[in-house]
Amino acid sequence: MEKLIKKGAEAEIWLRRWMGIPAIYKVRRSRKYMIPELDKLLRRQRTIKEAKMLVEARKSGVFTPTLYFVNLTDSTIIMEYVRGRSMRLLLKEGIDKPCFELGRALATLHSKGIVHGDPTTSNFILSDGKLYAIDFGLSLHSSDVEDKAVDIHLVKEILSADIPERFEEAFKLLLEGYASVAERDGGDVIKRAKTIELRGRYARGQWG
């Protein structure tokens, strides 16, 4: 069994056997468009970061694939294969309800000082009623309102581009989920996310 599941911008995702069980291999191959110095640095940094964060996120109370093995020489992470469907697919099928869980998951991570860094809808998988967070390559440790707010801003952007017709309701659901577990700074995070949006090029609101 060996199957390329996804060829993303940054890594390839393979389904392959590991020690007799099906597992996900996340391989960060070298990218020819970058100079080798930068390419090597990013692959190494992100592999280490992702492996650490997978474990830490799980400790914080969010479902993540179990980490099996890390190989820095070929920037590969081997982890549990989570069967299920991504939020992106669910939204495409008109199922918005898990947006609440997505908000909850982000708030749970944030409450433990973890910022996902790339909360696109394809990075959350619903499996057996549990929402798994994956792809921690761009994550960071931070308790800063600004960093947390960027997470909210990013997921908002994706939702508005992906389901413009149902965006308002879906995002409201997400915020409700977020508020249900957020720490005291939850309100500030949401407010800051709005500020970040207004900082966007030529956004109106601040100066009319």
């Binding site: 911008a9 940054e10 970058m34 110095e37 696109t120 990013l154 413009p164 090029r201 030529y202 109106r204």
Partner: protein, 332 residues
Amino acid sequence: MQARQITVLGIESTAHTFGAAIVTSEGRIVSDVKEVYRGANGSGIHPAEASQHHAKHAARVLKETLNKAGLSLGDVDAISYSAGPGLGPCLRVGAVVARSLSSYFSKPLVPVNHAVGHIELGCLLSGASDPVCLLVSGGHTALLSSRKGRWRFFGETLDITVGQLFDQFGRALNLPSPCGAEIEKLAHKGKKYVSLPFTVKGNDMSFSGLLTSAKRIIGRYDVEDLAYSLQETSFSMLCEVTERALAFTERKELLVVGGVAANRRLSEMLEEVCKRQEATLFVPPADFSGDCGSQIGWVGLRHFQHGFSVKPEDGFVKQRWRVDEVQIPWRS
């Protein structure tokens, strides 16, 4: 029945360029003339000075545009102008010229979003039909794709643009603005990579930390190596997000437009990104990737074909006007 050919005059004046062009409904650019304001070395655009520059050159640029096309104003079907986003004083020059002509010659007036101009002219000239678009200039750094009749943001800069990054770094080196071409030349001679912050947040990018870091180490490294490192770092960020956009949207065309699109290293890198995602790169000719009257004329023409124009007294100017606010009736 064959549709009659339509001819539109486009006037561009959002920032440093005052330009005019005559464009036809066959997608032909009959003439395109521009005059670019340049500040002193080490300084950027002074909005008031730039607007005076535009006012001074407007009549001549218009005359030349019409002469080259062999037309008079009575021959055009509509007049379009860049209504935003951009610098207020500059925008107003173009708007005043367009409104006056529209009123005097009784021609329909079409306000155009400058960024839509870049994208749509890019499509016309490069042959891209439904691309992911990397718009990278002094005013924008964004990835867009059309969906439900609008160009929608996939990701963009959270602070300054790549054009501003290059210009502000160039100004710190006392180069003449806009500095893009000069930075490219310097970078070409650089060899040693100096590590600089690489900031991609999901589908968004941040360049302000990169600018601060690069400016802080001026004098400690060769200028060529600094320019090289700045260019490689910022372009790698652009490429990564571009590849994400291609992978996510599953579109097979990539269009790159805006002033920075003229940089050859950037197209070389994007070419490689396209190979990885089995997509095709579309780059408009360098003369038309930056600001010009044609981008305004072409989009004005498309809007006019779809029945959109305003009365001269309603010819607005919007300094802040996001691309995704504009309905594009010819895109589904």
